[in-house]
């Protein structure tokens, strides 16, 4: 009888810890050995000792954190490769969340756990699609685990933005989007919809776009956006971090149409409270249907929920005869779409 995953994968103050393997997954604080699902700030934190992740995630960490703080040593592991650490077999599978994002698959003495990190099931031209891996325990996020969250086709949201540009050709369309993943996905969506003019970028987005291009994700013509260029930015698309679009930075643009690309934009009050004129429901997280379909697909009899609306998800799993357990991991969900990440418009 294989050991229950509870006996060898523990919740510690630093985050999930694989006891026999001696490593943490997405640890909150600096640890000796870390395995990282993807490069978002709430998962890939600085100053660990040895770091194992996909080559793309390691590259993202070096760009975001600087080489000196992206792990004392870095070990790349590609999806499809496997290694064995002190008796624990470890391999990665694409998570479909952002470039380089991976699920961490662990097997010890015949007992298998998959830690999904963040993931989505919608297609995304900037990263490899999610690959389900059957397991005994599936560790999932629950950012959008309420049945009101069902993300529409992203192409439709891109079309919404272009339609608005046609209606208001004199106004700058400034779109709030997270610098890593969402920004590049939006650019590809706009390119696919036929927008081949330059897309202007707030300074905070430039570095990661450059990295995506180096890693083989072509983004087309990009230009830095300075609010001083009021006239040049009329009728242009400007991408900026969510915190900048509600700020005075954006107000200096030519009659800006303030858009925000996020799964939260599905709820009107969320869009209104952030002063958004054009909400775009584009998310890099699985929606309600995506979460349930994935859990059914991996066939795990038990599901652990790291963060988000675990109450609703655990309830729905119970109705399907699946044991759900809320881990209440702290520190997750603080990237673009985490509920904590909606800083009040004033950054004073």
């Amino acid at each position: 009888m294989p050991p229950h995953p509870e006996t060898w994968l523990r919740v510690t103050p630093e985050g999930l810890f694989c006891v026999p393997g001696g490593f943490h997954i997405d640890p909150l604080r600096p640890v000796a050995r870390a395995v990282i699902t993807h490069g978002h700030a709430d998962h890939a934190r600085p100053d660990h000792g040895a770091v194992l992740a996909t080559p793309e995630t390691l590259a993202v960490m070096r760009t975001r954190l600087g080489a000196a703080r992206a792990g004392a040593s870095q070990q790349p592991l590609r999806p499809g490769e496997a290694l064995t650490e002190r008796g624990v077999r470890l391999w990665l599978r694409p998570a479909g969340h952002i470039l380089g994002s991976a699920q961490i698959c662990l097997e010890w003495r015949g007992s298998r756990v998959v830690v999904s990190g963040d993931y989505k099931r919608q297609p995304d031209p900037t990263c490899a699609p999610f690959e389900p891996q059957p397991c005994d325990v599936f560790v999932t996020e629950a950012t959008f685990a309420l049945p009101v969250f069902r993300h529409p086709p992203p192409e439709r949201e891109a079309a919404k933005l272009l339609h608005s540009l046609a209606l208001f050709p004199e106004r700058t369309h400034v779109v709030g989007c997270y610098a890593l993943g969402k920004c590049q996905r939006l650019i590809r969506l706009l390119r696919a919809a036929g927008w081949d003019r330059p897309i202007h970028l707030h300074g905070a987005l430039l570095g990661l776009c450059r990295l995506y291009e180096e890693l083989g994700v072509a983004l087309g013509p990009l230009l830095p956006a300075t609010a001083a260029d009021r006239a040049a930015l009329r009728g242009a698309i400007v991408l900026a971090p969510p915190s900048a679009v509600a700020d005075r930075w954006a107000r200096r643009l030519a009659e800006p149409v303030v858009a925000l690309a996020s799964g939260w934009m599905r709820v009107r009050q969320r869009a209104k409270s952030r002063g958004v004129e054009l909400p775009l429901v584009v998310s890099d997280h699985a929606d309600w249907d995506g979460l349930l379909a994935t859990i059914v697909e991996v066939g795990a009899p038990e599901v652990w929920v790291t963060h988000g609306r675990d109450d609703a998800l655990v309830h729905a799993l119970g109705q399907r005869g699946i044991r759900g357990r809320a881990l209440h991991l702290v520190g997750l969900g603080e990237e673009d779409e985490g509920p904590e990440a909606a800083p009040a418009a004033d950054a004073a």
Binding site: L146, P147, V148, F149, R150, P152, K160, S164, L167, F168, R171, A246, D247, R248, R251, E255, V257, R266, V267, R268, Q269, A271, K272, G275, V276, E277, L278, P279, R309, D311, A312, H315, A316, Q319, A344, A345, D346, A348
Partner: protein, 536 residues
């Protein structure tokens, strides 16, 4: 595909703060949507299309049958609005690929379907729509579709789109019905102007320009007539064989809110006047009138406690005779003669004020402190009644605003363009705290009057002097004095201070004045007209 298009329009209207952008969205709607859907959409936006067959409980039952109660409760809790929760949570069916209904189709089916058939009808539509479409449908069928000030805005958009003056559209508006096919045909140059005869028609009101004290000197008193400018809502009463209507200044039909006035309109005429709450012959504060606005049904208690009447200014039509080209003096004589004959209940004439010089009139104006009077109207004796604001015919001569020095207490971020600034200010005055000391009591809120530079300065000051935060509101140190001006002070039981200000705005930032020297509540109470005596 027009219900989804209508839903997309609604969604953008809801999120778009700017009036010009809203107009652009509406123009695009009229230009791109086919008949009859664009007219049905127009009717839905302007509140002309009100369905009441489907009650919110019907929608509640439908969603309860299709969702888990725990998940529905959690979702409702998160989303807040129930209609929106239903729209978002409604389970989408694979293979439900019937096309979504057209707007006109929805309107027609709702009229024709017997009550028992409604649940299946609505559920079937919900299955074919996406979340935005579902929300629009739910709001439409339950009568919850409210787009602020949409009617006037929609007519302006029609004018801009078609090139016809908005006054011309308002003249025919109440003679056409959804889906407005003759109206669109006329606006597109494909048909004649719709003839509004028979039905009561809104005639655009004549408006006044503000007058500066300095400009008064140039006027010859013999050529001008003066009346009080009453602080109520301007209305037009139109009655005749075709029906009776009460219109607001923007041409909204507000008849339903004032049934007792409607009852009193047993005449054939079109009148201009001010709707006021009048108790025992005295005009009550505007705050009382507010309880009567925006109602479709008026409870008997409200009719009794907040009685309304109309103070008449002008006579536009007597029978079929159009008096608008006549000089003001002639119309006034006709009005007086008509009122003496018709003696309509709940109506009286706005008295004319005799004066020999403008100096004398100015003295009369500043002597009038009643909250129900905003100032004076000056009408040129020979002025015809013309639509809109024609310079040189009518002036409004508001009395000087009142002023207090108050202490800033709380600040809140504004909306739209100003949402990154703290632009809404709650201010207070001193009063005894009952323990031998002094305390500040909030007396009002102002969100205008300042310049851009003053706004930026206030924003910085507020951020640097915050002592507590409650959601979007900041409480600040009670050290900054603001000079606040306002049009009137009125008794109010709904305010902690017992007094409500009419249109307060910031006149000056008084960094020169210590907070301890700001005004006291009693200074403000001295401005209140009809102040009950202390032993009352």
């Amino acid at each position: 595909m027009s219900l989804p298009a209508f839903a997309a329009l609604l969604e953008r209207l809801v999120f778009t703060p700017g009036r010009n952008a809203k107009l652009a969205l509406l123009r695009d709607w009229f230009a791109t949507q086919p008949d009859p859907d664009r007219g049905v959409g127009l009717a839905a936006l302007t509140g002309e299309l009100a369905f009441t067959a489907a009650k919110p409980a019907l929608v509640r039952d439908l969603v309860a049958a299709r969702t888990d109660p725990v998940l529905l409760a959690l979702s409702h809790d998160y989303v807040g609005d129930f209609a929106e929760t239903v729209a978002l949570i409604w389970p989408e069916r694979e293979g439900a690929n019937a096309p979504p209904p057209g707007l006109a189709e929805v309107a027609e089916a709702l009229e024709l379907t017997p009550k028992a058939g409604l649940p299946a009808l609505i559920a079937g539509w919900l299955d074919t729509l996406d979340a935005g479409g579902r929300l629009a449908l739910i709001k439409l069928v339950t009568g919850g579709l409210r787009v602020g000030a949409a009617a006037r805005l929609a007519r302006t958009a029609l004018a801009e789109w078609s090139g016809k003056p908005v006054e011309a559209i308002e003249e025919v508006w109440h003679g056409v019905a959804p889906p407005y096919l003759p109206l669109f045909a006329w606006l597109e140059g494909r048909g004649p102007r719709p003839d509004p005869r028979g039905a009561p028609v809104f005639r655009p009101l004549m408006l006044a320009h503000p007058l500066d004290d300095a400009e008064v000197a140039a006027l010859d008193p013999a050529e001008w007539r003066a009346e009080w400018k009453w602080d109520g809502i301007r209305v037009q009463l139109a009655a005749g064989p075709g029906g009776r209507r009460i219109w607001s200044r923007g041409g909204e039909d507000v008849s339903a809110a004032f049934p007792e006035i409607l009852e009193a309109m047993a005449f054939h005429a079109v009148l201009d006047g001010e709707l006021l709450v009048i108790r025992d012959g005295a005009v009550a504060p505007f705050a009382d009138l507010q309880q009567r606005l925006n109602r479709k049904l008026v409870p008997a208690r409200l009719r009794r406690d907040v009685p309304v009447g109309v103070r008449l200014y002008d006579l536009l039509f007597e029978g079929e005779e159009d008096l608008r080209p006549l000089p003001f003096d002639a119309r006034r004589r006709r009005l007086e003669a008509w009122a003496a004959r018709a003696r309509p209940a709940r109506m009286d004439l706005s008295p004319q004020i005799a004066f020999a010089s403008f100096a004398q009139l100015a003295a009369i104006r500043s002597g009038a402190r009643a909250a129900s009077i905003e100032g004076l109207m000056l009408k040129r004796a020979d002025s015809p009644y013309v639509a809109g604001r024609v310079k040189g015919l009518w002036w409004k001569w508001k009395r000087d605003p009142l002023s207090i020095d108050a202490v800033l207490m709380y600040a809140q971020r504004g909306h739209g363009r100003r949402s990154s600034f703290y632009s809404d200010y709650t201010f207070g005055l001193w009063r005894p705290d009952g323990r031998g000391g002094e305390e500040l009591v909030p007396v009002g809120k102002a969100y205008s009057g300042y310049t851009d530079q003053e706004l930026a300065w206030l924003d910085r000051w507020i951020r640097a002097h915050t002592i507590a935060r409650f959601g979007p509101v900041r409480e600040v140190e009670k050290t900054l004095v603001l000079e606040v001006i306002f049009d009137a002070a009125q008794r109010s039981t709904r305010h902690k201070s017992g007094v409500a200000l009419r249109f307060p705005r910031i006149a000056r930032i008084r960094t020169d004045k210590p907070a301890g020297e700001a005004d006291r509540l009693e200074n403000l109470l001295a401005y209140v007209e009809d102040r009950p005596s202390d032993d009352a």
